[in-house]
């Protein structure tokens, strides 16, 4: 009954004046401003992207004055970036635009985003329990090499995935012992993990394969064909033939959200990350929770690595294959504010920007660089607190000593 009266007292016009609505509308319009100039709409004048971008900026500023600063500045940024991209796009030929922005870009975005999704979730579990993990890059690299090794020697990609994930989990266990039991500085320890993984994978890659490539015909992680979709116009090339691990990645996001926010285990994890002493007082084994989360972090990051070598890479490996993806994953986790869906959104955004960068390489090196740099610049802006402050768990990075 009371809900109904509230709704009656809150007519549509009043709800439209809610700053949250204008903020989200601004962000949507900003993104739309950029999309106006690219296929399938392809506006050929500057007028429309600029006009829509300006509306987004105005909505953003209005939202800021109404107190929703983070959302408002987000809308302002979306409006400016959208309008700028729209103007850039109207200056290039429609043929080039269609070659860059098409349905298979969606597939490439997900392909580029998947290692980041796994990495970002890995980082989230570790940091939610209070252990900073900048060793994601190293754990991912371990997964990449030992995954393809397992697939080669074990004969099937299932073995590869298992071996790869175990290798990441093992490295994470070593890190956990130093970070949790020995109370070593976690940034120093994470740096060490990255060096170690680089050395171990490079050493054994040369030792086992003698500097050659992994032999052809290694069992790779299969793609999932969705029968009905292959004939559908846009969805077919977009999501009709994605790798199995991409779908597993999507599922992991949902499972992670449920585990972290809807289960007692998640509550314990968060308690250890926010106030370990209080968690200890109510009988939670802080060490055990942290060990579990760091090892889980290693398993997940390594799964991202296995995808890179045995899924996306088609059963190959090369020295330092991850090339900083672990750090982009770390950035995605921070940009997503230590939340599963936030991290997923950031990972997809960063995957999109690197997929676009790859395609733009042929047309314009400077525009390609711009898209490559975007994840790092956005994260820098996010930690600077211009678009709302990112808030790490309170006890993140602080070793816990029992009393």
């Amino acid at each position: 009954m009371s809900e109904w009266t509230q709704r009656l007292e809150n007519p549509v016009s009043a709800r439209l004046r809610d700053p949250a609505v204008s903020g989200y509308a601004g962000i949507v319009l900003g993104v739309f401003a950029g999309f106006l100039a690219i296929p399938p709409i392809e506006a050929r004048t500057n007028t429309w992207p600029v006009l829509v971008g300006v509306v987004a900026v105005v909505l953003g500023i209005w939202t800021v004055t109404r107190g929703r600063r983070r959302l408002g500045w987000g809308a302002v940024a979306a409006g400016i970036i959208g309008a700028a991209l729209g103007i850039l796009a109207t200056h290039s030929g429609t043929g080039n635009l269609e070659a860059v922005f098409n349905a298979s870009l969606v597939a490439q975005t997900f392909a580029a985003a998947t290692p980041l999704v796994f990495g970002a979730l890995a980082g989230m579990f570790s940091e939610r329990s209070g252990v900073v993990n900048i060793g994601l890059e190293g754990m991912m690299l371990m997964g990449a090499f030992w995954g393809v090794y397992g697939a080669d020697k074990g004969g099937t990609w299932v073995v590869g995935l298992a071996v790869g994930m175990l290798s990441g989990g093992l490295l994470a266990l070593v890190y956990a012992w130093f970070a949790i039991h020995l109370r070593a500085d976690q940034i120093v320890g994470g740096t060490a993990v990255n060096f170690l993984a680089l050395g171990i994978t490079g050493y054994f890659f040369f030792q086992i394969y003698h500097g050659n490539y992994v032999p052809q015909g290694v069992s790779t992680i299969p793609n999932v064909h969705i029968p009905g979709l292959s004939s559908a116009g846009f969805l077919g090339p977009a999501i009709g033939n994605l790798n199995l691990l991409i779908w597993v990645g999507f599922a992991t996001v949902i499972v992670s959200y449920i585990v972290i926010f809807k289960t007692p285990i998640g509550l314990r994890i968060r308690a250890c990350g926010e106030h370990p002493r209080a968690a200890d007082t109510v009988g939670i084994n802080v060490f055990l929770v942290r060990y579990g989360c760091v090892v889980l972090s290693g398993l997940l990051a390594a799964a991202g690595g296995v995808y890179l070598s045995d899924g996306f890479g088609g059963g190959t490996f090369n020295d330092n294959m991850t090339e900083g993806r672990g750090f982009i994953a770390l950035a995605a986790m921070i940009f997503g504010n230590w939340r599963p869906f936030g991290a997923f959104g950031a990972a997809v955004l960063f995957g999109f920007s690197s997929a676009v960068a790859l395609r733009l390489q042929v047309y314009s090196a400077s525009a390609s660089t711009l898209f490559n740099v975007l994840p790092y610049v956005l994260t820098l802006i996010a930690v600077a607190g211009v678009i709302g402050r990112t808030v790490p768990p309170a006890a993140d990075g602080k070793p816990y000593a029992k009393q």
């Binding site: 120093v188 170690l196 050493y203 740099v373 790092y376």
Partner: protein, 405 residues
């Protein structure tokens, strides 16, 4: 209850228990051990485990380490000669070339550490220094050598300071963690470098537009070589700049007000603020000086022996990250950083270009360097482990005596 873990302390006498647990006790023990024991044991332990990996994969670790030792030119001390035609002398000159860079990138990490910050962005600041030194070195033609060199070094150092200063500024103003911001700045510098030197980039070689490589710096900006031949990448006077930087680091930290304030903030920011020190100003300042060392490293490398830089060189370079291991092993002191840089400089050259060995290939040895580096950083971060090993040695001694008697 004290901070001691009851499970560890219960069965042991109090004196021994304290040394395996509390911070104060561990510091006291470190002082008793003279401060040198932990780094040395760290390195020894890392080399032992690295040797175990080598042995497990079917190579003789002793022969491998001997070949790396010779590859680094360290056998020069047994028959010293300044004739660069001698392999040992040549290898040593190359090791010292690497040491020069590592001293400076190590100091960059160490200075920030002394102010309580972790500058993980030495690599980015080094790249910014490289880029600016290359630009000034090539674009400002027809200058007299001395002003040209000084201008290039000054500009590159300033650029490095600015790049790190961003992170310092963000930490001081909005509290952004310097580790995150320097990692992001690293990758921004890397991509900007790829663009500048890449195909069609503003700093790409004017002669051949098909290869993604920069111009060579003008002869007037190249540092004089004092050991060896310039064409064969001889040792340049940048080595003395690095030694001077070590002295400057010591003097700034220990003999100036600035250094005192930086150390005070590093020890305890709250106490420093209570004592009237402007903490925010010192965070920015320390980060700026830290970046200046890394930018200087880039300048010395560019003007000293690289002269140009290509896109393919970017991922291969990690002297900025090696600086972390150098500084940590050197306990963030001037002397320690110098020795750490020599160790890693020797490893860097001795396992790659200098190595001629039938026991272990350079590809394996080069990766062995990363393993040893990783282990050293891992162990340095955990004093407790090293102290535990050191303590158990002491604990074993009375037993051994008892058994002998």
């Amino acid at each position: 209850m004290s901070e001691i873990d009851p499970r560890i302390s219960a069965p042991e006498p109090p004196e021994e228990a304290a040394s395996s647990g509390t911070l104060i006790a561990s510091i006291a023990l470190k002082q008793r051990a003279g401060g040198i024991v932990v780094p040395v044991m760290t390195a020894v332990l890392a080399f032992l485990i690295g040797g175990a990996v080598v042995a497990a994969t079917g190579h003789n670790p002793l022969l491998a380490y001997r070949d790396i030792f010779n590859g680094a030119g360290l056998n020069w001390i047994f028959h010293p000669t300044t004739n660069i035609a001698n392999t040992a002398a040549y290898n040593l000159s190359q090791t010292l070339l690497q040491t020069t860079t590592l001293i400076l990138t190590g100091l960059a990490v160490a200075f920030a550490f002394r102010c309580g910050m972790f500058n993980i962005g030495g690599q980015g600041q080094y790249f910014v220094g490289l880029i600016v030194a290359n630009w000034v070195g090539y674009d400002f033609q027809h200058m007299a050598p001395l002003p040209h060199i000084l201008l290039a070094i000054f500009a590159a150092t300033l650029a490095g300071a600015f790049w790190a200063g961003i992170a310092g500024f963000l930490k001081a103003t909005v509290g952004a963690h310097e580790v995150i911001s320097t990692i992001m700045l690293n990758w921004i510098a890397i991509w900007v470098g790829e663009w500048l030197f890449g195909d069609g980039g503003p700093l790409q070689n004017a002669a051949d537009k098909t290869i993604p490589i920069s111009n060579d710096v003008a002869a007037s900006a190249q540092l004089p070589v004092f050991w060896g031949v310039q064409a064969l990448q001889g040792l340049d006077i940048g080595f003395f700049v690095a030694i001077a930087a070590l002295v400057a680091f010591y003097l700034i930290l220990n003999r100036t007000t600035l250094g005192y304030e930086v150390r005070a903030v590093g020890f305890n920011p709250e106490a420093a603020a209570y004592g009237g020190i402007n903490v925010k100003k010192n965070l920015v300042r320390a980060m700026g000086i830290s970046g200046a060392f890394a930018g200087l490293a880039g300048a010395i490398d560019m003007l000293g022996y690289l002269y140009h830089f290509g896109v393919s060189d970017i991922p291969a370079s990690n002297v900025g990250f090696l600086g972390i291991a150098v500084a940590l092993l050197g306990r963030n002191t001037a002397v320690g950083t110098g020795l750490g840089a020599l160790l890693f400089g020797a490893l860097l050259f001795g396992t790659t270009h200098g190595l001629s060995s039938s026991t272990i290939q350079p590809e394996l040895a080069g990766n062995l360097t990363y393993i040893i580096q990783g282990l050293i950083v891992l162990f340095v971060g955990a004093d407790v482990l090293i102290l535990y090993v050191w303590n158990s040695r002491k604990r074993l001694r009375p037993q051994a005596k008892a058994m002998a008697a």
